[in-house]
Subunit: 222 residues, 2 copies
């Protein structure tokens, strides 16, 4: 049932990911790999985070999609460098794709790169791209039971964002049960409830991300 | 970048799928493969459809999840046979998994089997399980641009359900743009806007599904 094709692919992927990471480290760039289902609000969160961090950091975005450049157009409209990767069917980004995207960016001019992975709660989980952290978004309409059904992604996430909290009254979402499930799977991960569109709760997330970027870009200040 | 591992796996899968299909045809059972993102409302739609069709057809459900038996418990609570498949990480069901689920059901006592695939807009698209039709659900909170980003699933779907229309006022969802995108990708597919929780719009969907099941179970009446 479980065909054993996983390992050799992951080995190749990890090797290239390590090369990506070495290159990013050399430039002191923090790479965030953002994971979520389609429509959970990845692009909206990226746009809201850019708005609050662009005075402080030089930011670029790598957009992963099966098809289309809808998202990278939105980022570029904000005057932020964006590279679109179309996977042509693959349900996740691989490190070789990110390598090519890094080639297209001027790394000497960046502090933070946000990778928007393909919308998917499963496939991107296993693929290390060279990122400093994976962060995942769950949105309220998806339901509080998702950590039970998709434990892997909640386990690899350094932080968990609960988006669209402004729609809480419309949905039967049990935030307490959700937090408990996340904690059971990943006790270290902070949970940030927020609304990327109204801005509510964004400050704590932005502070956390800034702390991560600072730790990497100014290693001598610690 | 695109490692060529896809084809041999699909060949094996298709062979077992054809066996599943022959077995279902022999019993006059219609198999529906239901696809959607996590939280789009697959289980809710299945429960609502069962409620409206259980007097007319003998129904069973095959639940695909990475982990947990949350969904099959909900189905069984309605007195409907349900088989849980845990893929242990795989982002889609394969025909070998469905074969084992069919083994666990009494096929002589069924007219309709609904397969709830793993929540994912990408991976399940390519895998034929022996189903009579794939049907997909998009929910309003996911956004109207999803056909542009995940064209494959909209192309393989025999019908497209737009769920959670009761939340339309809360989200910036352009139903006209959505319908146009679906039509561009798949002109034959009907679109059923509905709310599985309030019941609004369900009747048209249920009629369509009943028509499909009837065509298969009573081939001589046509």
């Amino acid at each position: 049932m479980q065909l054993d094709i996983h390992k050799p692919i992951l080995d190749l992927n990890d090797r290239l990911a390590a090369e990506n990471r070495a290159r990013l480290d050399e430039h002191g760039i923090y790479l965030l790999d953002l994971l979520a289902s389609p429509g959970a609000g990845k692009t909206s969160l990226i746009l809201a985070s850019i708005e609050r961090l662009r005075q402080r950091y030089r930011i670029a975005v790598i957009e992963g999609d099966i098809a289309s450049d809808v998202d990278s157009q939105k980022i570029k409209a904000q005057g932020i460098p964006a590279v679109q990767i179309n996977t042509g069917g693959a349900c996740h980004l691989e490190s070789a794709m990110v390598k090519r995207a890094l080639d297209a960016l001027d790394l000497s001019q960046l502090d933070l790169i946000i990778v928007e992975n393909v919308g998917n709660l499963v496939c991107p989980t296993d693929f290390y791209l060279g990122e400093d952290a994976k962060v995942m978004i769950l949105s309220v309409p998806e339901g509080h039971d998702k950590p039970l059904k998709y434990p892997g992604i909640f386990q690899v996430a350094r932080a968990v964002i609960l988006n669209k909290i402004d729609t809480m009254p419309v949905f039967d979402f049990d935030e307490r049960a959700f937090r408990q499930s996340v904690q059971d799977l990943n006790p270290q991960a902070p949970v940030f409830p927020l609304s990327a569109t109204t801005g509510k709760g964004l400050e704590l997330w932005v502070q956390w991300l800034a702390g991560e970027v600072d730790r990497k870009s100014e290693p001598d200040d610690s």
